[in-house]
């Protein structure tokens, strides 16, 4: 009998809870979910776990955020689910990766675009870098391009998949250096792509700065260049692509942040947009991110909206050029 009473009580609370959510009086009044479209342990998942760990604090959301992994096909599986099936009630958040989902939506075959999501805040920016094995003969990007010029289409290099940041960086490199390269997308994501480089299966690779930084510290790879406008604090000695004479901007930099599905009530979006950036600024979060070698870059909702629009334009131009 007790069970029934308890069940009835719980049902009542659930229903009254739903009523509150409609009025947004006490939002959030139960734990939230954050969907990550990459596997547990990957860079996005790992960072998402750190930046959300203080969500339960009274001065933050007051409710914990649980991570939900929906990996597959370079993030398409997760974002498709988020755009079509996730409930726009403010309790289901998603992690975005720019340029990944925008490039995929331009390429087609998916059910989302920038219209499907509402950004809340950005927590990190992880530039792509070019890595080679430690015993490789390549000492600079000029060596790499020289090899590719001699062997058109013969320079194999790995990356995390098609139409993700690494692929965009690879396309930009091909375009800027005017060479043909053999980009090998890896099914096991950034970690798999890095393994291929270390094992010498490919001559080089594009990878996340945070992961490459660790691999370089461990003495497994050498980083030849950063696909960003400025040098990175983690790697002050590594020149950017522009410094090495290739006209490559920051279109491939992997911006990570939190979003909700389009159709989420405006009050909820405003509430989240006000609180989530302060959550990222928490000192404990910053020190953990620093320790994990993950560059932070906090942006508010308005800044992210602007950045999305800018990326949409750049990527449309870049991918249109490729089709010709």
């Amino acid at each position: 009998m007790k069970k029934w009473i308890a069940g009835a009580a719980m049902a009542l609370t659930a229903m009254s809870g739903a009523a509150f959510a409609d009025g947004h009086g006490d939002y959030p009044e139960r734990p939230l979910l954050l969907m990550v479209s990459y596997g547990a342990g990957g860079a996005t998942d790992f960072q998402a776990r750190i930046v959300t760990m203080t969500a339960g604090n009274e001065d933050a959301l007051g409710m914990p955020i649980a991570i939900l992994n929906r990996p597959g096909a370079g993030g398409r599986v997760g974002w498709n689910w988020f755009a079509t099936e996730a409930e726009a009630d403010g309790y289901t958040l998603g992690a975005y990766n720019i340029p990944h989902f925008i490039a995929q939506s331009i390429e087609g075959g998916v059910e989302y675009s920038t219209e499907s999501f509402e950004p809340i805040a950005n927590w990190g920016a992880d530039p792509a870098v070019f890595v080679v094995p430690t015993d490789s003969g390549f000492q600079s990007m000029a060596d790499v391009v020289a090899y590719a010029t001699e062997n058109p289409g013969g320079l194999t290099f790995s990356g995390a998949g098609l139409f993700v940041g690494h692929h965009i960086a690879a396309l930009q490199l091909e375009q800027a250096a005017g060479v043909e390269l053999a980009y090998i997308p890896n099914n096991a994501g950034g970690a798999g792509a890095m393994r291929a480089v270390i094992a010498g299966e490919v001559l080089g690779g594009v990878n996340n700065l945070s992961d490459a930084f660790r691999a370089q510290e461990a003495g497994n790879v050498r980083i030849l260049g950063v696909f960003d406008l400025e040098r990175n604090d983690f790697l002050p000695d590594v020149p950017t692509m522009i410094e090495q004479g290739y006209d490559i901007d920051n279109a491939s930099v992997n911006f990570r942040g939190v979003m909700v599905p389009a159709g989420t009530p405006q009050e909820v979006i405003d509430h989240l947009a006000a609180i989530v950036p302060t959550m990222f600024e928490n000192g404990r979060v910053a020190s953990r991110m620093e320790a994990g070698g993950s560059p932070m870059h906090i942006m508010t909702r308005d800044e992210v909206l602007e950045m999305w629009a800018a990326r949409q334009e750049t990527l449309e131009a870049l991918l249109a050029d490729l089709d010709n």
């Binding site: 007790k2 069940g7 049902a11 659930a14």
Partner: protein, 154 residues
């Protein structure tokens, strides 16, 4: 009745052969070709093996598999219906815990050999259901923090 398994074998392997051929047809007609390269390789083998099995069944030379007896089908039917309603409708529509409580209770009641007349039987069935649901709630909701659909009830 000896022919029942043979007829069943023909129907079963026929269905599988149909699936195999359909899969092969889809693989060879869809684009982009590179994405379907692997499915083409598999589905060819799939279709050949499925047709072979179908042929063997037609000739009555199937060696393994006992098919289904009428009694087994009659026995499983009520439970199967509860299961289908529970999984494909109730779990989502009523909420996980409500639907599971009802489904567990019905399945236990339907298949428990104890007499339906005695009050003691029903108390036992309710106790088992309640105890099990308490464990499930503790494990999934409290310990593992899984948020299950709760919709109408819970």
């Amino acid at each position: 009745m000896t022919d029942l398994p043979r007829t069943q074998h023909i129907i079963a392997s026929g269905l599988i052969a149909a699936v195999g051929v359909t899969v092969a047809y889809i693989s060879f007609t869809q684009e982009p070709a590179q994405a379907y390269l692997f499915p083409r390789m598999i589905s060819s083998v799939f279709a050949v093996l499925a047709i072979w099995t179908f042929g063997k069944a037609l000739l009555g030379r199937t060696k393994v598999g006992n098919g289904l007896s009428a009694e087994a089908m009659k026995n499983m039917l009520p439970g199967l219906i509860v299961m289908l309603v529970y999984v494909f409708w109730a779990a989502k529509a009523l909420g996980f815990y409500t639907a599971t409580t009802i489904a567990v209770f019905i399945v236990i009641s339907l298949y428990d050999p104890a007499p339906h007349g005695a009050a003691k039987t029903w108390i036992k069935r309710i106790a088992i259901t309640a105890g099990f649901m308490a464990v499930m709630y503790g494990l999934f909701a409290l310990l593992l923090n899984v948020f299950t659909p709760r919709e109408v009830f819970f």
